[in-house]
């Protein structure tokens, strides 16, 4: 009854496919460049990591999760996040399997371990969940923070 608007045969998708193949050659399965804790593309939830001069910030794209059920731990420079969601509960009634046309959303439990830069202070962490994104802010060690150096005239 509902059909996607854009067909998969669109040339744009083929270009993307070529790009993905190139990326896979570099970092994907079978590549020595792949991180030992790395996950396959499209794994739920997606994670981004960035830094400022004072902090390292982790963004976890995990919509529809009860923050009370999230287990967040940090040990040395490893941050781990365990949580889950049951998408069948979103329907509002007990869904019959034959009622689904599409089931693209992740359902189940997950755990992700993220290796952070050595410069972080595991004692100073703050986590906030808003609009389905978990933002974990970790302060850097005092001695690792970028400092401005004044140049004296002389």
């Amino acid at each position: 009854m509902l059909s996607p608007w854009i067909g998969l045969s669109d040339p744009v998708w083929r270009d993307l496919e070529v790009m993905r193949e190139e990326m896979n050659k570099l970092f994907g399965l079978g590549s020595p460049m792949a991180n030992i804790r790395g996950v396959a593309q499209g794994t739920f939830p997606a994670v981004n990591v960035g830094e400022t001069s004072e902090q390292v910030i982790v963004y976890v794209f995990a919509p529809g999760i009860d923050p009370a059920g999230m287990e967040l731990t940090i040990e040395k420079n490893l941050l781990s996040i365990a949580a889950g969601r049951d998408t069948s509960k979103d329907i509002g009634e007990k869904p019959k399997p034959e009622g689904y046309y599409r089931q693209e959303r992740f359902s189940g439990n997950f755990k992700r371990v993220i290796s952070l830069p050595e410069s972080i202070d595991p004692g100073k962490v703050e986590a906030r969940y808003k609009n389905g994104i978990l933002v974990v802010t970790i302060n850097k060690k005092e001695e690792e923070k970028a400092r401005k150096i004044n140049v004296a005239v002389g």
């Binding site: 009854m1 509902l2 059909s3 996607p4 608007w5 854009i6 744009v12 270009d15 070529v18 790009m19 593309q41 794994t43 939830p45 997606a46 994670v47 981004n48 990591v49 960035g50 830094e51 400022t52 001069s53 390292v56 910030i57 963004y59 794209f61 995990a62 919509p63 529809g64 999760i65 998408t87 979103d90 329907i91 509002g92 009634e93 869904p95 009622g99 689904y100 046309y101 599409r102 089931q103 693209e104 959303r105 992740f106 830069p117 969940y129 808003k130 609009n131 389905g132 994104i133 933002v135």
Partner: protein, 134 residues
């Protein structure tokens, strides 16, 4: 792959480098669950980062479009170290059948999950047809 001219940088009047291409970055296609029961169709989409105010759901003729913008959460001075998720705009569209009562569509946004209820028009709801013996 993009041609070289698309990736070359030009310098704006302020002296900051800007991308020469004016092409808008492609939008993110949110994953969806679509379920049908006797009352209608339920569409659920994962759109992390989108709040109630940055969401747009519209029906034009029989095309249902959902759009959303990820609200700013990243500090300006942030240097990316690692990214699995890129993009800022979500967009996905579907063609609706004539049986959906477009005037009664309801949308609900919670924790980055959009739930759309697309009720069927009264006259198309399934009725049980009695089979007479004989």
């Amino acid at each position: 792959m993009a041609e070289t001219k698309d990736t070359q940088m030009a310098v704006s009047s302020e002296g900051r480098p800007v991308a020469a291409s004016t092409k808008a970055p492609s939008s993110i296609i949110p994953p969806v669950d679509i379920y049908e029961n006797d009352d209608g169709i339920i569409l659920i989409a994962d759109m992390p980062g989108v709040g109630k105010d940055s969401l747009e759901v519209q029906v034009d003729k029989n095309i249902l479009t959902i759009k959303g913008t990820i609200e700013d959460i990243v500090p300006k001075e942030l240097k990316p170290l690692y990214a699995e998720f890129t993009g800022k705009e979500y967009e996905r569209a579907f063609t609706l059948g004539p049986d959906v009562d477009v005037s009664k569509i309801e949308a609900n946004m919670n924790a980055g999950v959009l739930k759309l209820m697309l009720p069927k028009a009264e006259e198309v709801k399934p009725r049980r047809i009695e089979v007479k013996a004989g």
